[in-house]
Amino acid sequence: MNIENTIRIAIQAIFTNKSRSLLTMLGVIIGVGAVILLMAIGNGLQVYITGQFDSLGANTISIVPGEVFSSSGGFGSRESQFSAISNNKLRYTDVKEISKISGIRAAIPMVLGNSDISYQSTTKKRSIIGTMPEYEKVRNTKAEKGSFFSSSDNDGGKRVTVLGSLLAKDLFSNIDPIGKTVRINGQAFKVLGVAEKKGGGFGGPQFDDYAYIPFKTYIDIFNDQKVSQIVVQAEDKEGIQENIVQIKKQLGKRLKSDEFSVFETTEILKVINQVLGVLTLGLGGIAAISLVVGGIGIMNIMLVSVTERTREIGLRKALGATPGIILLQFLIESSLLSVFGGAIGVALAFLLALVINQFFPAVVTMFSIVLAFGVSATIGIVFGVAPARRASQLSPIEALRSE
């Protein structure tokens, strides 16, 4: 008998018992769906974070206090990061020295603090960033409405601000904020512009919630000399590693090596992606357990099916089916259940990913589909062997005699 007929018989058997087949497939449907969906969420997060870093500007080097990376390559411990912030020794003089290094287009300081910010009766507690006008270009943060503050605004320590798009919406809802006055740390600030939407959150910085004020103004009103971060823009990508060496050398004159970190901004991305990659695989692995459970479900139902259909097997053998054909029929049946279940699982995961994408980044990858589908098909074959063998070894007489 040819394989086409065997497949046809197996499909017929599956459709003859529709509800049982569907229930059998349920385990695989959930397993495949869970693997694809969880991996989609992990991948979505990676794509999202990569996008965030891209939006931070190209060819940038970050300088922060303390040791960001541990010697093993991952992030440093939480304790070391906290102590770095409290013992921050980066100062504006460092920014000025770094900007003199050749091959560096711009070096700007960033100071970060929290403050109440209010418009009329609406008050929000938000992060305030004190920085230079060059931030607009270096960090690729354009003013969507109005304009970014100028050098003269900074030099004069003027009370002007650029609001993140979410913050502007929170404070002003539908009113145009340009030219209005908000109060930051109790002082009146004129809104010069609203920054274009950057996105963010999910544990990372939410740029759209920030209020940007001139660096000098920040120092004046918060009386804080510590620079939270220095952002350096290199002239070209090729020179970045040399720039890092030079910056380290410059800072090393005044600070100990564990008091500052210099890294290409995308380096953080590499570490985050590494962590997320492991997380995604871990999530996929946990979901894969449900796939195996689904496979065991298929085996159970197939074993019940062999017992239920003993008479049918006997009849088929009496009419000329060889043990090999019976084995193949049941093996194809379990594999098809698994493959159909896998296909439904993939479709379901796609639909759910579309829904989830409205609230959380989820990207379904070909790799996860191939992995989940491949594993489910293999499970169908592996877990189908025992029932199929049992069916093929039945004696036709015993089988025909069964009730």
Binding site: T16, L315, R316, S395, I397
Partner: protein, 230 residues
């Protein structure tokens, strides 16, 4: 000679006891013969049918089909023999559930690698021949007992077998349907088909020209031998 069984024994071991279901049984069947094997429950008639129809192998003895020894055939070869040479009519009809009459009849052709179109055409013809031309798509649940047995006869004949084995073919039927089925077997015999019928009912056995009576795994009488003696 179409089928020869020589000194066939079939022994089963249950615990310490050996059960001799068949003991040194010999029988030959000619082409076109209509044979009834009779006997009470446990007489060995069903075991004889199973061995003669290649569903089972004897413990000892030899089987010749058209002079060719087949008792040492592999399981696959036995399956091939059953498919080509044997047609089965069972007491329980044994139709596949939720499957149309036409698909049930075509089943042996599936295992004979007959193309789908030809299978359907031949099964349709066969169902018309047994008077079920208007029931082609009906499933087991939509057919009466008599109709189910007719579908089973159509299935037994679809591959044009050398021998039709009927195991208590009227056992699950009312007397009218039983008579109809026996009439069909009579017609088949008249057309030259070899039929081996297993029954415990004397009036059913009388449809056959030759009657073999079994008891305790032995043949105690064979009408063919008596005729020879006379």
């Amino acid at each position: 000679m179409l089928l020869v069984l020589e000194n066939i024994s079939k022994h089963y071991t249950v615990g310490d006891t050996i059960i001799r279901a068949l003991d040194q049984v010999s029988i030959s069947v000619d082409e076109g013969e209509y044979v009834a094997v009779m006997g009470h429950s446990g007489s060995g008639k069903s075991t004889l049918l199973q061995i003669a129809s290649f569903l089972d192998k004897p413990t000892t003895g030899s089987i010749l089909l058209r002079g060719k020894k087949v008792e040492n055939y592999s399981e696959n070869e036995m399956a091939g023999l059953r498919n080509r040479e044997i047609g089965f009519v069972f007491q329980q009809f044994n139709l596949l559930p939720k499957t149309s009459a036409i698909e049930n009849v075509a089943l042996p052709l599936v295992y004979a690698n007959v193309p789908a179109q030809e299978r359907t055409a031949r099964a349709e013809d066969m169902l018309r021949e047994v008077g079920l031309g208007d029931r082609l798509k009906n499933t087991r649940a939509q057919l009466s007992g008599g109709q189910q047995q007719r579908v089973a006869i159509a299935r037994a004949l679809i591959n044009n077998p050398s021998i039709v084995f009927a195991d208590e073919p009227t056992g699950n039927l009312d007397s009218k349907s039983g008579e109809e089925i026996m009439d069909m077997l009579d017609v088949l015999h008249k057309k030259g088909k070899t039929i081996i019928l297993v029954t415990h009912e004397a009036d059913i056995a009388h449809h056959a020209k030759r009657r073999i009576v079994m008891r305790d795994g032995h043949i105690i009488s064979d009408s063919k031998d008596r005729k020879k003696k006379v």
